[in-house]
């Protein structure tokens, strides 16, 4: 069995929630512990704000200061844990955990230093907190953030499905089939139309260069607002619904397997349109059912379209035909 090195193995589920929660609990424990230790030496109110030379210039009651700090830690900790613990894999959860560690440190350390500074002074007015200590706090915060980021581990990857498990469409030996469907976005077509109108207006009133740029980008947006998706004996093709010329083709020899699944475009693509991300690209005009092609390169090509299951089944059938030498 292959064992992954520490920090490269995805940390999942409740362990990840614990990783997100831990720094806030630790911060509360540190603040409460230090307060408990120095409580009898504290004056009320405390010096809680210091000028640039480190002299006290703001004061808060002990109870208000502690309640405020602990409340911030409780709220941030709960928010972080809920975000990381959601059922749907949260985007960039690793960064949220790292940021949580950093914030917990930059809240707990100044609070603790303030308590200690007050405890060492006989009067609140004479408490001092030099600026370099704050710089040290910031550095410690960054270090804590980095540690949290490492402990959180990489984002869990969805388990790749077993090859050959995807459904096929039963097709007779000499039979041919083609699946086609249009997918559109009314919002995007409105954007395209507005851009074209803006281009015309600029072209007439100002200059045709700027107007031309707007016209061209409006037309490019318009080209993907209503797209005909076709799966046939040549592979997958995307073409503007009004023009019979495909702007994107995926032939069979690039594809390992086709599947259909629910695509959530906000977390997977960060928006709609023709999107390219580091591990997947595709045309996503809405969330929901989508055709997903797993490419040999390890990337995914995604098109959100209704009835994607039929398209995937047909794609796999043709994929089998394209490589008849497969042993199974």
């Amino acid at each position: 069995m292959k064992t992954a090195a520490p920090f490269t193995r995805p940390v999942t589920g409740s362990l990840r929630v614990a990783t997100a929660l831990f720094p806030f609990l630790a911060a509360m424990a540190v603040v409460a512990g230090i307060h408990h230790k120095v409580a009898d030496r504290l004056t009320d109110p405390l010096a809680t704000h210091f000028d640039i030379r480190g002299k006290a210039d703001g004061f808060t009651s002990v109870q208000g200061f502690l309640t405020g700090t602990l409340l911030i830690l409780v709220l941030l900790g709960a928010g972080s844990a809920v975000f990381v613990g959601r059922k749907r894999p949260a985007p960039a959860a690793r960064w949220v955990i790292g940021t949580g560690w950093g914030i917990a440190a930059t809240v707990a350390l100044p609070t603790s230093l303030t308590l200690l500074a007050n405890a060492h002074a006989d009067r609140a007015e004479s408490a001092r907190l030099p600026l370099w200590e704050l710089a040290a706090v910031l550095a410690a915060g960054v270090a804590a953030g980095a540690l949290g980021w490492l402990l959180a581990g990489p984002e869990p990857r969805p388990q790749p499905p077993r090859p050959g498990a995807a459904p096929r469409l039963a097709l007779g030996a000499g039979e041919r089939a083609g699946w086609t469907r249009t997918v559109g976005s009314p919002l995007l077509s409105a954007v395209g139309l507005l851009t074209v109108c803006g281009g015309l207006f600029l072209g007439i009133t100002a200059d045709w260069f700027t107007g031309g740029v707007l016209l061209a980008s409006g037309a490019a947006v318009g080209a993907v607002t209503s797209v005909r998706v076709t799966v046939d004996r040549r592979g997958l093709a995307l073409a503007p619904a009004l023009l019979p010329y495909a702007f994107r083709r995926v032939p069979f020899d690039r594809v390992a397997e086709a599947t259909s699944r629910n695509v959530h475009i906000a977390t997977e693509f960060g928006g709609w349109g023709y999107r390219v991300r580091h591990n997947r690209s595709g045309l996503v005009l809405r969330s929901g059912e989508g055709l997903v092609l797993r490419l040999h390169s390890g990337r995914e090509f995604v098109v959100t379209v209704d009835d994607a299951a039929t398209a995937a089944a047909l794609f796999n059938t043709y994929l089998d035909r394209a490589r008849p030498s497969r042993g199974d």
Partner: protein, 121 residues
């Protein structure tokens, strides 16, 4: 929607394409106002002659299921309903059954006319 054609079948390819569209309307996967792929596109997709596709589209037009307009292509008519498409499928089955029995086209029309006459009385 899914088009499937089998060149080894006795049914003409154009009729197979028409049957695919009819079936898609009947089972609700193709709705009124939806555009069918252009004849040239579909022909390239299925590897058949463009005239074969257009023959199938012409047939659907005669049945009142689609409209063919220059420049707009083939669009499922607004008035179309799954029930109307199923009626076309029933007619297809009637004709196929009658041909199997060796009836001529006139005799098939006669069967329907007799049925209409009986229903009228």
């Amino acid at each position: 929607m899914l088009f499937r054609v089998d060149p080894s079948s006795a049914v003409a390819l154009g009729d197979q394409i028409a049957a695919a569209v009819r079936g898609a309307i009947a089972d609700g996967s193709l709705h009124a106002g939806e555009r069918l792929p252009a004849g040239r596109e579909l022909a390239a997709s299925l590897g058949v002659n463009v005239h074969t596709v257009l023959r199938g589209y012409q047939r659907l037009k005669e049945e009142g299921l689609i409209e063919l307009r220059r420049g707009r292509g083939a669009v499922v008519t607004d008035a179309v309903s799954p029930g109307r498409a199923r009626l076309g499928e029933a007619a297809e089955r009637l004709i196929a059954e009658a041909r199997r029995l060796g009836l001529s086209d006139d005799e098939i029309v006669g069967v329907v006319r007799t049925g209409l006459g009986l229903a009228g009385n």
